[in-house]
Assembly symmetry: C2
């Protein structure tokens, strides 16, 4: 059980800046994200796309922005040794349970069993927790040879030498997986058979990836099966085959040893809709001055919230995180002076930033 | 008379970002500032001080931030030729008059006689218009040989060869002026006599400047007079002498040919307090969702406004400018679709940014 002042749910740009602002105000915080990397959508969805409307940054990519925000938050992300992951950053965790404590504050639990106790919560979950898109076949959830991309790394150890591996999807992610498996340096570790399963004979991927996979298809290194999976045979927790409906209306049975689902990410609001916060069209309704939700002590900032005039822009999320941090600071320390300090001049802020 | 959609009053960081956001929304705007340079306080008060809390910029100086914001706003600051000043940037102008037009919209007039007609106004005037601090002797206003630092450049043409020049002040600005005059390359253009007038025998300036002026004082190149000016003799629009009260209680008469007032800048809300906008403790009271003042069509953003939860931080001003721009766009074009476009993906925004 981690005991802290604040928990930030979501390590996207707004969550990272929330951590920074809490740090400036002397509030200890932990930060949690379901993705394997900090940066949220900026890294998961548009790492290489240019952004032009961050104030003072004429242009940067999603990944560059995330990196800058991580650098800025570093003073408040303590590590055990140089280069080690931050102790208060918990990646690959989905917050599943929230309980209000009778003595005030909250307890949180993640799907991986992490438990946290805190006084205030900042939900910076963007469009929701980014979860891998599935095949809409619930029976697959029970099979141990079905792999989603948020799981352990693809290649180490390679479980698919001499096996038939089916990869489902037609985007960058699916095509990259095909190439990674087919081009493993040790030929003995390559799958015996590689099938790409996609709903049509056209990919939505980077042209270079697309061309490389087409060459492999021509040479027979990969087989393309066009169709929709409509059924699955699972026995003893093992997926034996998929039933695939082709464009011609015919079905075929696709026997396999492993299925890699690489169909992209889809945001899900997930468990937080059950916590009792008032929602307005799937957004958390907040006050436009404190960004507190209908539950005192739980704030919502960035794309997940709504209030009159709301625009889903990063720069608005930065403002919301800042005012929410100040509101929380005043409620956590009602007797402390609340006059505004500036990073340009305040020795206390310089000390917190590790500058002196 | 300039006829446009919007006028932004104040070319500090928030005013520059206001111009950028209006540009993204296709709203034509002019921008006005009383200072001789864009960048507001960032350039006038702390050009070399580090700022640590601009989201995504771990550290930058005031001048660097202003430069970045100018670069970002470039697509909406048209020039007649490469390197020429922007046609819609009006520096050295104090907006003195505002009139609501009976047919809707507003007319503005500056102290230099510039006239503008527009439909909406964005007051991004920070702490107010930065005006040079005076000596509290109104009679000086009538004298032609009293010079404030916002006037024409100090050295060209040099009006003070063979003259007694008195410089008033004890900060960087005053000491820099002493050095600039005493060290002119052409000895014939240096003043015959140079006096520094300051209220005490101690400066509040950069240590290097301080040391250099002290050396000049020792060598007799500059005379320090310690005291407070309590009176002035002005005849025919010419200041002949100042009466100076010393720390010893004695007064002396200081005859002079020119007086340079270099006592720093002081923000004054100035004429805009007379325009009828509701004020709350010298701030313009605005809605927290639109940042519109009590006068429809006049918005106030950045340090000059107030609303519940307000923090006087640049990043909050950027958010306010953005929501104000969107609110104004909806009111100017009520029939246009108001769905949010992203600079990362929108071809229309790319076109407005001059990228395609």
């Amino acid at each position: 059980m981690i005991d802290t002042d604040a928990v930030v749910i979501g390590a996207g740009p707004v969550g990272l800046f929330q951590l920074f602002q809490l740090g400036l105000l002397g509030i200890k915080a932990e930060i949690i994200d379901v993705l394997p990397e900090a940066g949220g959508q900026c890294v998961a969805l548009y790492p290489d796309k240019p952004i032009y409307d961050i104030p003072g940054i004429a242009v940067c990519t999603g990944r560059e922005l995330a990196q800058q925000l991580l650098t800025q938050a570093q003073p408040f992300m303590p590590t055990d040794r140089f280069g080690a992951p931050a102790r208060n950053l918990h990646l690959g965790h989905l917050v599943t349970e929230l309980t209000a404590r009778s003595e005030g504050g909250f307890e949180l639990r993640t799907d991986k069993g992490l438990q946290l106790r805190c006084r205030v919560i900042f939900v910076a979950a963007g469009a929701g927790a980014f979860m891998p898109r599935g095949l809409n076949l619930p029976v697959l959830d029970t099979a141990s040879n079905v792999h989603y991309h948020l799981e352990a790394p693809l290649l180490s150890p390679p479980p698919w030498a001499d096996q038939h591996v089916v990869i489902s999807g037609g985007g960058d992610e699916a095509l990259s997986a095909v190439l990674a498996l087919a081009e493993q340096p040790d030929p003995n570790q390559r799958p015996a058979k590689l099938t790409l399963l996609h709903r049509r004979d056209q990919f939505q991927a980077d042209p270079t990836l697309d061309a490389r996979v087409r060459i492999m298809q021509t040479s027979g290194q990969v087989t393309l099966v066009v169709g929709m999976p409509t059924g699955a045979e699972v026995s003893d927790g093992h997926l034996d085959s998929l039933t695939v409906l082709g464009a011609d209306g015919q079905t075929q049975s696709l026997e396999l040893d492993h299925l890699l689902i690489r169909q992209g990410l889809s945001p899900k609001l997930g468990p937080l809709t059950q916590w009792g916060m008032a929602l307005d069209r799937k957004q958390v309704a907040v006050s436009a001055s404190s960004f507190e939700s209908s539950i005192a002590g739980i704030y919502a900032v960035g794309d997940i919230n709504t209030y009159p005039g709301k625009k889903r822009l990063l720069l608005c999320g930065f403002h919301e995180a800042t005012l929410a941090a100040h509101h929380a600071a005043a409620s956590l320390n009602p007797d402390a002076p609340q006059h505004l300090l500036y990073t340009t001049t305040s020795p206390l802020l310089h000390q917190r930033l590790g500058l002196i």
